[in-house]
Structures are given as C-alpha cells and as structure tokens.
Amino acid sequence: MNFYAIRAIYFHEMDRMRRTIGQSILSPVISTSLYFIVFGSVIGGMIPELDGVSYGSFIVPGLLMLTLLTQSISNSAFGIFFPKFTGSIYEVLAAPVSSFEIIVGFVGASATKSLIVGIIILLTASFFVELKIQYPLLMLFLLILTCLTFSLFGFLIGLLSNNFEQLQVVPLIIITPLVFLGGSLYTIEMLPEFWQKVSYFNPVVYLINGMRWSFYGASDINIFISVVSLVGFLIACIVGVAIVISKGYGTKT
C-alpha cells in the first residue's frame, strides 16, 4: 500500500479547500443560513409543528442533507475533473499508485470537506432554531456514510465528465430537484396520495428521512430501510467507480 501517495493526494485536495475557503465553506454556510432565516424563522413561525417539532427544527435534517449531497458530489467531481482539465492528471496516472489508493485519497478528502461543512451547518442552525439530536451516534454515522457515498458518486461523475457542463448536469438537474422533492422542507404525508407514491421512487426521500429519524426519532420511512438504501447506494458507487477506473474510462486511452 502506497500510504505516502494517499497522504499526498488527501492533503493536496484539502489544500485546495484552504485555497478556496470562500467557495468551500462560506458559500454553503451563507446559503443554508438564508434558508434558516427565511423558512425557519420568518415563514416557519407561521407553520404549525410537524411530527411534534417546530418547522424551523424540522427542516434542519433536510437542509443538512441538501448541503452534504451537493458538496460531496461537487467536491470530489471537481477534485478529479480539474487535474483532467489541466492535464496534471498525468502524474497521478504515471505514479506507482493503485486505483484503490487514488480513490481513498480523493474521496477521503472530499468526504472530510463535506463533513466539516456539515458540522458547521449544524452549528449555524443552532443559532437560528432549537436543535436537539435524539440519536447523535446514528446521526454521525449517517453523516459520514452520506459524505462517503456521495463523494464516491461525485468522483464517478468527475471521471466520466469531459467538460464543465457535464460536470454540473447531475448535481444541478438531478440531485437538487430530488432533494427539494425528497421531503427536505415537508413531510411526505402532506402530499396528495398519488405524489406520495411517486415520492417513494425518489432515493433521496430515504436519506432525508433517515437523517430526520436520527434527530427526532420520527420520520416517514423506517430507519432500517433508510440505512439499507444508503448502504446499497454506497455499494453501487463502489462497484461503478471500480469498473470505470480499472478500465481507464475518462483517464487513460
């Protein structure tokens, strides 16, 4: 195992976060704070409690998931796409590094960045709404699992993307709508029956409800199903990345 290479890639990527602190940390914190101000404090004050918690507190797990998913995907997709774009990927490909070590370095750094952003968002939320976490260990487990899974997914997108447009397509056109329609700002029960059924085909519903259950012990979906869905998606991402990187798609010719 080339530990020095994993360490080099990991800190190289973390250094990118330090260089772009505004984009990496401030931007998600500011946008999430705006959500809390508008939906949590202003509009939330006029909405009755949902599942026994105030609306402001209710949206915390959903907004946390929205940030984790988009940050994890964009961090790792950009992390691998940028060296492809500049051509500096040559040194990773020419180094005595296995595919596994490359993935651990890039995905590990991306997941760490998302985790840092997630924790900052939780702290930010505590300034705006009353925050209580019923199952903190489960919440931490889901937080880490989500960061890892979606960093892997982002890595896959970055590997397969040939230009900046392709890099943005999945996060903007697929992930953001799925999160907004996945019950981040409402419970599934509030929807008409038909749309409730449609919502169960949205994988993000299971993630948000899993996170919500760890906060308040109540959600639309059984926590077991949520965790199994997340682990299933993690396995699918591992298999996808392993196939793509071993065949050299997007990197080698």
Partner: protein, 307 residues
C-alpha cells in the same frame, strides 16, 4: 552495456482505429541519452506514455529494469520520471508544495532538503513560494523537470523538453540533461529539433507513422547515412566542365568559380584523388578546397521522405 528499458513488438491502436505504434522493438541502454526523433504524430509521445502507464498498449511488452510495466507497475513507475510535453500544472499551487506533492505520489517520505537541492539546481529556489501561474513558460518547464526528479528516478523521459523555450534556456536545459546523465540517470527525450538530438544524444531513434526507421549512435548515423561534399574553388571561372570530369557528377556553382563533388566518406574509394588528378590534367587551377558533412537534419528528412 546493460539495457534499462526493453520494448518488444509494441503496438497501439486507438479507439478511432488510428494505429499510433506498429510493432516497435527497441532497447535503451543504461545511462545513455537517447533521442526519439520524428515529425508530429509519429508516435513518440504514445510510446513514452505507454512506458509511463498513461496509455494502455494494444499488444507487445515493455520492461524497465527487467520488471514488466503492467504486472510490476509499482516497481517500474517508481524508477521512472516523466516531463510531459504540455505545461500540465495546477496554476494556483505553490512551487515547493507542488514538487513535494509529486514526491509523495511516488511513495517517498517528505524530504525538504532534497527538494531544496533540486530547486536550487534548476534555479527555482527563489520561486519556491510563488504560485505556478506567476512563473514564465521556461520556469514552468523547469518545475515539471523538478517534479519528475523529486522521487530520484533512474530513468527520465523528457517529452519535447525545449518546445517553446528560448535559445539561452534551451542550452541551459541541455546542460541540466547532461548533468543528470553524469549522475547516473538514463535519459529518453523526444524532440523534433534535430539540433537538440545532435547536441546531447548518444543515440538517435527515428520514428515515423508509428514505425521505427533507424536506431544508431548519433555520430555513426551521420557517418553511415550522411554524404560529404567537396567544394573546390577555382582561380578562373569555367563555362562548361571538361569532358574528362563528366563521370564525377560535379555541380558548377558560383558562376563557374566553384565545383561541388558529393562522395561517400565511408566507402573505400571516395574518388577524390582521381578527381584532383583529372582536374590537374585538364589544366584547371585550384584556389581552395573545403568539405561539408550533411547534417542529421538532412538524414532525418531523407528517412522520413522515403518512409
């Protein structure tokens, strides 16, 4: 001399059916400087990229220090340093950090004093805290060399090292390359500057359309394939050549004041003695004599044209 890189029947066909390499076999000796010469699209970069692990070969095999580049990729890649043709650098990074990063990728523990020495040798130490986008093109090229040397490779590939580099810097670069060879590093460089190959390479391999046309010592190649020209300056201009001299295939130059004679310097009988004898007999008076050797460039152009 021991071979450090052995290429056997190497072929590469890209997905668009373009055959970049056709059955190349080549041995590279330890501690030599070998220049891969060829026009654009000849297959030089593809060959280097396969050896370094960036491009997947279609068939054939390559060993580096007797290790297979695919089965034993960790061993072979740790022996190799690569300076790519393009200035492929992350523009917002700092020089020292970026060079150290490459060392880490190659599985080596951090060694700031070694990085310091490399940067000093390449006149980059003053720029160690500069962002890469603040450097000139020549400095960026040197950063790429520093990165390639950061893990102390024994085989160094330089893909067009002097592309876009001014004359002064090119000569500095040649000195760096010679110094590296003197320190025990085997150098493989691709170039289409023939002058560069002539100046620093021990051997030359000419590649065109994916085929290896010739491999030889630079001086032997010039000697064996090159022609020499004898330039004879006359005291008085001539209008036509005397019939006795017709068999020599001479060319009259300079309004009849000079004659040129092409000969093969490697042959036993160059014909110079008999030519001079015949000229004396025809009454031509010589003012001066001069010889010219055809350059590697002439040979290269001829080889590529024939191919």
């Amino acid at each position: 001399m021991q071979n450090v890189v052995s290429i056997k029947k190497l072929s590469k066909t890209y997905d668009n059916d373009f055959q970049a390499l056709k059955n190349i076999t080549l041995d590279i000796k330890k501690n030599e400087i070998i220049a891969l010469l060829g026009p654009n699209g000849a297959g030089k970069t593809t060959m280097i990229s396969i050896i370094c692990g960036i491009v997947i070969p279609t068939s054939g095999s390559v060993t580096v220090d007797n290790f297979d580049i695919i089965k034993d990729y960790r061993r072979t890649r740790s022996l190799i340093g690569l300076v790519p043709q393009e200035l492929s650098l992350e523009q917002f990074e700092y020089v020292f950090n970026n060079v150290s990063y490459t060392r880490g990728l190659y599985g080596k523990a951090p060694n700031p004093s070694l990085i310091e020495k490399i940067l000093k040798d390449l006149s980059l130490w003053d720029k160690r805290h500069s962002r890469i986008n603040e450097l000139s093109g020549g400095m960026k090229r040197r950063v790429l060399i520093a990165k390639a040397l950061s893990h102390e490779p024994s085989v160094l590939f330089l893909d067009e090292p002097s592309a876009g580099v001014d004359v002064e810097l090119r000569q500095e670069m040649w000195q760096v390359i010679k110094d590296l060879r003197n320190s025990g590093v085997t150098i493989i460089l691709t170039t289409h500057y023939i002058e560069e190959a002539e100046a620093i390479a021990d051997r030359v391999a000419v590649i065109n359309k994916g085929e290896l046309l010739v491999v030889d010592n630079t001086s032997d190649l010039v000697k064996s394939m090159g022609q020499k020209t004898l330039l004879i300056e006359l005291h008085e201009a001539i209008r036509t050549l005397p019939s006795k001299l017709e068999r020599y295939n001479l060319t009259v130059l300079n309004n009849g004041l000079s004659i040129s004679y092409n000969y093969d310097s490697s042959s036993k009988q160059t014909g110079i003695t008999s030519l001079l004898q015949d000229m004396k007999e025809t009454g031509l008076k010589l003012k001066d004599l001069n010889t010219e050797q055809s350059s590697l460039e002439n040979i290269f152009v001829e080889l590529v044209r024939e191919n």
